[in-house]
Symmetry: C2
Subunit: 231 residues, 2 copies
């Protein structure tokens, strides 16, 4: 049975824009594991019902089914202990949990307020109503209102990245000399933004942009080859 | 030669209020290393001139002199590899750097804007002018103006702790099942605030407050026994 990853896609099957699926795409590459990705849309709950829940990423690895990006990453670490580590041991795994939570609360939440209104143009028609109404409900306003004033507000987002910027002054990756799951957890959000929006979330000379560039190039340009906007 | 740590003190020699010195107090306890702490005031540059710079913490360990909290922590890890690890390996050390930078940029900077005006009352008279003028210059305003409106602004500080709060939902410490240097790096700021201010920086039912309590109790109550304000 082939290894398969159900991966959020837009109207174009190759536009894969889930930050959480990107974490796992890079984690699989880090482990040197081949995977067949299956484009999946929000409306296709039936296609992943076998996983017992309704969100991607879902990994099917032989007889094993795992959902939720954190659970998939820890599964990969446990199932493939002889491949390069995603965490560098139990303490590293605990610390990575903090980094992933920072990515969720600061990076992904901040990016959403800058780019969410650019997503509907890329969605499959069958996903449009669901996406817009669920996100309008979450934000309590129209999506255009969420991103209004982003040219001014982006400075605050960039400021919130300061802990990452400070870290990149003394080491090339959050994981140290080489990237690991902490890097992929943060990078996933930037790749999400790149896949759906031309809005420049980083300044070109930001060390965070250079780090993003190194991750776009990692694993033979896996992330850079994906449809998206560079800038 | 005894192991000695130059440790910032207030007018009372036992009021030790540097967040960076607290990181090292706990790191030494984690390693099970005895230390004689030497109360030090900002004006006593001559007393630590042997370290080649003018800030504490300064650790004197036999023939070795180390300053800067991060460099001291990594020195301890290297010099005492058979004692409990502060980082859990090279990947853990790299990830801890990110956590320490988050502590500096978010926790300590945020706490300063809530409690800095409470510090002068605890200072040695010889430090008062230096401290007030250097901090007023840094903030560009009087210290009372820095902390003005803190009763309202504290909500924003508590919100910024969300990555830590999320992490504590699934593990008791940032380091996992037991605390490590990442915990001490963040805790140092809370201990600083506790040593000088009655202002309640956390709500009593915040999981972050429970975590702070566990660290106050660690190593036989090392941090809780220090002069400060509980609440």
């Amino acid at each position: 049975m082939a290894r398969m990853l159900y991966d959020l896609a837009g109207a174009e099957p190759e536009r894969r824009f889930s930050p959480y699926c990107w974490r796992i795409r890079l984690a699989l590459a880090h482990k040197g594991l081949d995977v067949e990705t299956v484009p999946w849309r929000f409306a296709e709950k039936a296609a992943i019902a076998f996983s017992g829940q309704g969100l991607v990423p879902v990994l099917v690895d032989g007889e094993t089914v795992v959902s939720d990006s954190w659970r998939i990453a820890t599964y990969l670490e446990e199932a493939y202990p002889d491949r390069p580590s995603l965490f560098g041991g139990p303490a590293g795994m605990a610390l990575t949990r903090f980094v992933a939570n920072w990515a969720d609360a600061v990076v992904n939440a901040g990016l959403a307020r800058l780019i969410v209104s650019d997503i509907p143009a890329h969605l499959d028609p069958g996903d449009l109503d669901y996406f817009v109404s669920s996100r309008e409900k979450r934000f309590g306003m129209k999506l255009d209102a969420v991103t209004a004033g982003r040219e001014e507000r982006v400075a605050e987002f960039r400021q919130a990245l300061h802990p990452l910027r400070m870290t990149l002054r003394t080491q090339p990756y959050i994981g140290g000399e080489a990237p690991d799951y902490a890097d992929y957890a943060v990078f996933g959000g930037f790749q999400w933004a790149r896949c759906v929006s031309r809005f420049p979330v980083l300044e070109a000379d930001d060390p965070v942009a250079a780090w993003r560039g190194r991750l776009l190039d990692a694993f033979g340009g896996l992330a850079r080859r994906a449809p998206g906007y560079d800038g």
